[in-house]
């Protein structure tokens, strides 16, 4: 008799695709999503990044960790912050960097993602940093590239943006300490389309954050979001009440066209972080934003530039976190070489 419930793994996907991010020794091989990574690895990323921040503050901002390695930035979507900080991170690790913007390149001529990857692979790249409009694109790439290549997800569709989440965690840790269990974090805005929010939620939960809230109208909330381990609020004042960390998300203008919101003005009145509404959070709450900011749409200028804002710290931390992930996935960390001490 056959086992009636037999569920064989799909040979096309290889074995154990859940742990595709980790190599056989449990070390980070690709960085695709926060989900499935334990707090030890997240803490290792944060600690390594912390070490690299000293490099970034030196006069000569360069360590030879990845000398001779080639890192390809493969961006299928426009990006300024993420792409430049990935590029800077690679350069500060002494790697060679190739920047490819696909919106102006081969796929517009009909080349598939897979063909693009294989071509770049033939150019002896050691790492792909990929941003793509489709959820799952980084997983897809990791599954198909040659075994020596690491894939870093720089944002895939609505799914995941793990380096952004880690730089946010680093920023929170620098401001609120290593123990997240007493923290109340509110994420406000377009959760539905946000890969940043999803990655933040996974990271915050893995790091044992006390309470995570998402705040948005229902049109901007994905179905059953509470199953990711968050509390849902439709009301900003309730949502950020006594929060230690308030993370504002960017509201894209095209959301008005899809009848998701009536107007920017009404959104600002309902969900904008202003001098009036920030009072509901704790007095020492920090304000974060993954950028780019829409001043006067989701956040008032004086809050974005005010004493509680750590938005520019996030950008600086972005370089250190990306250096950390690059060095960890390519197998050499700052601690091993003692380079930064």
């Amino acid at each position: 008799m056959v086992n009636k419930n037999a569920r064989a793994t799909n040979p096309l996907l290889g074995q154990d695709h859940w742990n595709i991010q980790l190599d056989e020794n449990g070390r980070l091989k690709h960085f695709l999503t926060i989900e499935g990574l334990g707090s030890e690895i997240l803490t290792e990323i944060l600690d390594t990044a912390e070490n690299f921040t000293s490099v970034n503050n030196r006069v000569v901002k360069k360590v030879p960790l990845l000398r001779g390695k080639t890192i390809t930035n493969l961006f299928f979507e426009a990006s300024t912050r993420t792409r430049t900080t990935f590029e800077l991170a690679a350069k500060r690790l002494s790697a060679d960097v190739l920047n490819i913007n696909i919106s102006t390149s081969a796929t517009s001529k009909g080349e598939s993602l897979l063909d693009t990857l294989y071509n770049l692979q033939a150019m002896q790249s050691d790492m792909f940093v990929i941003r793509h409009q489709d959820s799952g694109a980084a997983h897809f790439a990791a599954r198909h590239v040659a075994p020596h290549i690491s894939v870093l997800n720089a944002g895939d569709g609505r799914h995941s943006h793990p380096t952004q989440a880690m730089l946010d965690m680093l920023t929170i840790r620098q401001n609120k300490g290593h123990d997240f269990s007493g923290l109340r974090v509110a994420i406000v805005g377009d959760i539905l389309h946000s890969r940043v929010a999803r990655s933040q939620i996974h990271a915050l939960n893995t790091l044992n954050t006390g309470e995570i809230r998402v705040v948005a109208p229902r049109t901007l909330l994905p179905a059953e979001i509470e199953k990711l381990g968050v509390k849902v609020h439709y009301d900003l004042e309730q949502g950020i009440k006594d929060a230690d960390v308030v993370i504002m998300l960017r509201l894209q203008k095209e959301r008005m066209q899809g009848a998701m919101l009536p107007s920017e003005l009404e959104y600002y009145q309902q969900y904008g972080l202003t001098t009036d509404t920030i009072k509901f959070a704790k007095p020492d709450a920090i304000v974060m934003h993954p950028g780019p900011i829409n001043r006067g749409v989701e956040i008032e200028s004086c809050i974005a530039d005010g004493p509680q804002s750590v938005i520019l710290d996030q950008v600086s931390n972005g370089i250190a976190v990306r250096m950390a992930v690059m060095s960890m996935t390519l197998g050499t960390t700052a601690q091993q070489t003692g380079e930064d001490k």
């Binding site: 086992n3 037999a6 959820s135 799952g136 059953e224 199953k227």
Partner: protein
Amino acid sequence: MNLSNRLLIKQGRVIDPANNIDAIKDIYIENGHITAVEDQIDEPKAEQTIDASGLIVIPGVIDLCARVREPGLEHKATIASETRAASAAGITTLCCPPDTDPVIDETAVVDLINHGVTKAAHSDIVCLGAMTSKLKGEHLSEMAALKKAGCVGVSNASKTITNTLILRRAFEYAASNDLTVFIEPNDPFLSNHGCAHEGAVATRLGLPGIPDAAESTIIARDLELIAEIGVKAHFGRLSSSRSIRLIEQAQKQGLNITADVAIHQLFLTEMDLSTYNSHCHVLPPFRELRDRDVLRMALASGVIQAVCSDHQPHEEDAKLHPFPATEPGISGLESLLPLTLKLVSENILSWPQAVAALTTAPAKILGIDKGHLSKGAVADITIIDPEADWTMKSKDMLSQGKNTPFLGWGFEHQVKNTIIAGQLIK
């Protein structure tokens, strides 16, 4: 193929739900037709005898929805490749929806398909005609001409008619021509280019979701018009428990409607998308475990009468993209019968129920005189080994499309022989 005019099938367990038969019997076939079904037939004139002892003999399987990709998408599959795969999988008749290229909205396209079927000489194909020209939902197609050309019903395939006035007229015109309308309920606005069931898994994976309501709102809308007009209607490829509730209510109120489910919906759920397995990209999407169980119960209770393959063969490249960019659909011909019979092993269906869902019910829905083993019937017969123990492998598949999430699955039931119009094909 073995051309012989007189064929005798000995001592198989004959399951023929249309005639209420489930017993060990002999079947004698002469000139393409069944001439006798008896406990014991000794016919020395038989040119060929099949020893079916220990095997199950059922009417040839009828697949309510299978795309053969011809005309228009021959790089994915052809009539020749898919009818061959079908006949090897025990499917003797396929129903082809009108979403070919060009669309089946003219008799010439029906003729083209029929010509291909004659040439391939494997399973038979019946066509559904387009309800509106080019499936655009704007002008009625020439339904009477399509019917004369051989179309067994009309459908707008997955292109839901959004203008309710045109929908009403299409239903009325189909009713005047005594044509059944085949509906794949899907609201394109609510689906909004989604690729996964709107729920916890899609949220986690960041995949654009398709809510249950994309299906059920169209069912609710169409049921009102069906009740008013009295057109014969069939709802195909249902995926959600809310849809089942609507269909069940309407049937209880005496509405003459039928329904089918794609067999893969009875085995997989949204959880199977967890690794971005593009072979699980289907429309309508795999929904929750609860939905799968409600669909199974609905098939067992008769709210859903038939299962189909919803066969959509693809070339390998079609699935080699990030999940949302892949083309939806499963190459399902070769898993239709083994999966359906898994439901017998799992005690969800009885043998006669499973056989009816594959044969009698689809024949009745299509209004064709097939799906039974009566004396005088066309000899379309499938013979099954119930203790085969085999594993589905890509290299063994005959369909040109190898895109199926069931690769590596183990099955007990395997088609041993297929007889089409009295000819032993396999």
